[in-house]
Subunit: 222 residues, 2 copies
């Protein structure tokens, strides 16, 4: 499978590139608005993988080139760049590509971090609204601590709720996620449930803010 | 310490009565709008504790009698009964009592369960708004699976975020919570952060709805 990490120079892109690179044989491509930055990130990721004993190579290109041939495109961009990024890649997306969105709208106050979704209700629903109608949208990876994901020396043990209206696309992403050791997908239903899932991310920031001695937090349901 | 479980005939009241009863020496009193129902519940809880090998006795009475002398009063009532319950007990609350609120506003749809807070932003803030100004309010126990809490044969291992503006009251509730084996409080900051904490509860219902083979879910941050 070819996985495009759009905005793949960012924290969640890095973490997913390294974990998919280290633990699977999928083809990984880093996309960015800037080709040089994508290439630079890909070189960095290959080096981190090499230190970890993996000779996986990572592709790189501008976002529209990264999605060419991709089975799964992960939109690792901030929520305010979601719309323009989708517009940029619209003509490059394969007919059967799946678009995955981990972005969350949040605002900070003195007391912590608060869920601040777009008017449509959630970033996941915004992505579905902007994406071509034929492209299934899956919300996932919202509450994964990106820094820990990107540290291959650290074992992880966390869950990530997954939302989608397209059951086959959801299953594909859940299966893909299961290939990363220590990361477990959990079905959270359709996109209409995305707000409840996305709102985990600001809560984790709030908890870390009030418990500085703790690591960047993930979540487990059990 | 004397702990009053208001609406203590309900699921979270039962769970907390049994766990505090089994694992601590605090005095537990079940409150209800109806004295007979409170007494009936207390007898049931004593029996469950006895089966578990504990001879703890549980007090009972109408809510205003239950709060008399209580150091901590836990408002285990649905969100739409919060206001009237506080009005009922207002004149009985001790000057230094702490009011704990585990209630969450949620609505169900075909797809799952959604956070549906009161206009003030959260049930915790509603409680603080309605309670006497001198009474510190602490939000806790929102995301604990009540059925599992009430089953003393089942070990638990879960976290509960705690919010409060009064640091001393928050610490008291966190210490009290730590006395229940397997239940860990985590500081989530002031009441202004309550919405993020309360919204865990409907997400857990949603996840259970879409994963029927799973037990009633709790949460761990790590």
């Amino acid at each position: 499978m070819r996985i495009a990490l759009l905005g793949g120079t960012g924290a969640i892109g890095e973490g997913l590139a390294l974990r998919f690179g280290a633990h699977t044989t999928h083809e990984i491509v880093v996309g960015s608005r800037d080709a040089d930055r994508a290439i630079e990130a890909a070189v960095d990721y290959e080096e981190a993988l090499s230190v970890h004993g993996s000779d996986t190579s990572i592709g790189a290109g501008v976002n529209i080139d990264a999605v060419s041939g991709a089975d799964v495109a992960i939109l690792g961009v901030p929520p305010y760049h979601v719309r323009e990024t989708i517009e940029t890649i619209r003509d490059g997306l394969e007919d059967e590509a799946i678009l995955v969105t981990p972005a969350v709208g949040m605002s900070r106050s003195e007391t912590g971090c608060h869920y601040d979704p777009p008017p449509i209700g959630s970033v996941s629903e915004l992505v579905a609204n902007v994406a071509p109608a034929s492209v299934p949208v899956v919300g996932a990876y919202h509450s994964i601590p990106a820094g820990r994901l990107a540290n291959l020396e650290t074992a992880i043990d966390m869950d990530t709720p997954v939302v989608a209206d397209d059951e086959a696309a959801k299953e594909t992403v859940q299966n893909l996620t299961n290939e990363i050791p220590g990361l477990s997908p959990i079905d959270a239903g359709p996109l209409a449930n995305a707000a409840g899932v996305e709102s985990l991310a600001p809560l984790l920031v709030t908890l870390k803010h009030h418990n500085e001695s703790l690591p960047e937090l993930g979540i487990r349901f059990d």
